[in-house]
Subunit: 367 residues, 2 copies
């Protein structure tokens, strides 16, 4: 991915409309989206750099000496400036030089304490520090064809990893062993990293939607739930498969069919113009009618892109309408603490007239 002049121009138009002289971009995916700079932050308090995008003129990447070589290599078209004495000190020098007297910041990705401190610092030089929200996230909602191609590639690579590891799973293995084999195979097949901590859960552990892999040993007849994703060329995949080690019993078969039907019918509902809550409602109604309503405690899905969890959210509370080019997961589940859990998750792209599932293995492994 390279820096993207079109994206910068679109953002600059928005800044001019809002009468903000520049935007400070702190959110790491937004930073990558606009600049092509791929460095990772170590949590929100340790940034690998921020962008300063003036409403007109060339953009800046502000970072420290640890990252300067990588920044120069990757952020084409950006001026790289260093802040050996901290970001505020650099801004107090740079903003007056650039004639910037109002600076927007990403309120959704700056710590409250940091924002207050910077507001004070910038007030000293007469610069207004203005809370903005999700300006760039809104640009990221609808994917370009190139982004859809990369997301599909990430999905298929993820399926390939799953298939390789799935073929080796047998009783006696632990959740941690399988999770580790998955993450190792991701690396071997060229992924940058997992897009989230891989979930492998056996039996009753599968009742925790965010289970952390343990040393629990797989026994014949156990449910196996695997939720995994990887990052390839910056873009995330996210997929869940549930199956049984050995022959599933009638209860499992009944329940997996409910989840499968919820997933299929919800996917069939998706097209541009439909609200998120309608899609969630479709899946939830099927699960409720089967008597498992109280065991489906999370939203139906979420957007995926540079971040593994983006907008839109397919939740019962979201009245937002889907648009063509959005990519969302569809992942209904039922979780019974004494028994186990089943979740099936695919990624789909929204078109004007329907949904296209990016996964090629659309059926899961189920009955």
């Amino acid at each position: 991915m390279h820096s993207n002049p079109t994206r910068i121009t679109r953002l600059q138009k928005r800044l001019k409309r809002k009468k903000i002289d520049a935007l400070l971009v702190t959110e790491p995916y937004n930073r990558r989206y606009l600049s092509g700079y791929t460095a990772s932050d170590n949590g929100i308090a340790e940034t690998a750099g921020v962008l300063l995008i003036p409403a007109s003129g060339a953009p800046y990447l502000l970072t420290d000496s640890r990252f300067v070589l990588q920044a120069e290599e990757e952020a084409q078209g950006y001026t790289i400036s260093l802040y050996p004495k901290g970001l505020s000190t650099l801004l107090k020098k740079l903003l007056p030089e650039l004639g910037i007297s109002s600076l927007g910041f990403e309120s959704q990705y700056m710590l409250h304490a940091t924002a207050l401190k910077m507001q004070d610092n910038l007030a000293q030089i007469g610069v207004d520090f203005i809370a903005c929200t999700e300006l760039i996230e809104r640009m990221r909602l609808v994917k370009t064809e190139e982004e859809i191609r990369l997301l599909k590639k990430s999905v298929l690579r993820n399926e390939q990893v799953f298939q390789l590891v799935y073929n080796t799973i047998e009783p006696g293995m632990t959740e941690r062993e399988i999770a580790l084999a998955i993450e190792l195979t991701m690396h071997e097949l060229g992924a940058e990293r997992p897009s989230f901590e891989t979930i492998v859960a056996f039996g009753t552990n599968a009742a925790k939607p965010h289970a952390v892999p343990t040393d629990r040993v797989l026994k014949t007849g156990d449910i196996v739930l695997v939720d995994m994703g990887l990052v390839l060329e910056g873009y995330c995949s996210d997929m869940t498969r549930t199956f049984v080690a050995g022959k599933p019993d009638a209860t499992y078969v009944d329940r997996v069919r409910v989840v499968r039907r919820a997933q299929k019918e919800a996917t069939d509902t998706i097209r541009a113009g439909v609200t998120c809550k309608e899609v969630d409602r479709t899946a939830r109604r099927i699960i409720e009618e089967a008597g498992y309503g109280e065991y489906f405690g999370h939203a139906l899905g979420h957007g995926v892109g540079l971040a593994v969890h983006e907008n839109p959210r397919l939740s019962s509370r979201s009245r937002k309408q889907l648009k063509a080019g959005m990519i969302v997961t569809v992942e209904p589940g039922i979780y019974l603490p004494e028994w186990g859990g089943i979740r099936l998750e695919n990624m789909v792209v929204v078109h004007e007239d329907g949904a296209e599932t990016l996964n090629e293995d659309t059926t899961g492994l189920d009955l």
Copy 2:
């Protein structure tokens, strides 16, 4: 790690002094420190739960259905409450029940946008939402004997991983292969996870202090810089070793001796009462006198505990005094873009009368 009544009592005393009815704990390490709850957040915007610690009475862990089983298992002594309709909705019900009319929040670990939204929401029920800063971080600065024991264990396990992988390194391997072997060995030796993304950098890549492993192939005579750490029972290690594949030349030998001397003399300066900047100064002076001052662009070290980067910072700007029981890294380095880099990093515990290096391999691998 279990929930810790002593820590809760200490925090409650602080809340009473500040006349705050309760504190909302959002920072994940603080959450684990007080509750023993080990769930990971997926970035700051996706929490696995927050603590509500009233100034008197029993504490609460607020989470969602995905985490309820883990929360119940781990957070002993906590009442678990779920927020199916979001945290604000739960707080608007719970705070009046508990008679809480002022609620502190961790300004250093809440997003600006989130804090503003919650402030509005809580104002509707007459609750003041009050920015607090690093109340619990300050409690975490000085480690207990038990914590020092766990940190030492993490350091030694990390050295063991390094030694196993070091023995296999040979020309032809890539940075990524070695980094992956390290992370795999960490898992095999029982680590929860790496404490940060492992750095393996050959030759000129070693001039980037935060290099990301690439497919660059190791050649005889290359510098190899490895910066690695793991999490064991919640506690982090962090260590850097630099060596040469084959026989080092005279330039390398000169430079590594400078870095080694900077590390040794800075460590010798450490004891309770010394300021952080004095320790940084000692190392920086040696590097400057050798003519590499401009090539040492980062601070000398940082605290380590539940987080891999904590206070205190051994930086040229910190006037804070070290206290007995603090644990810091000592990691001088020199980085020359055309040549490569050298960094040596150990972890040391501050005592009243000196420093104790936790690493057993204190020499690195160098000449």
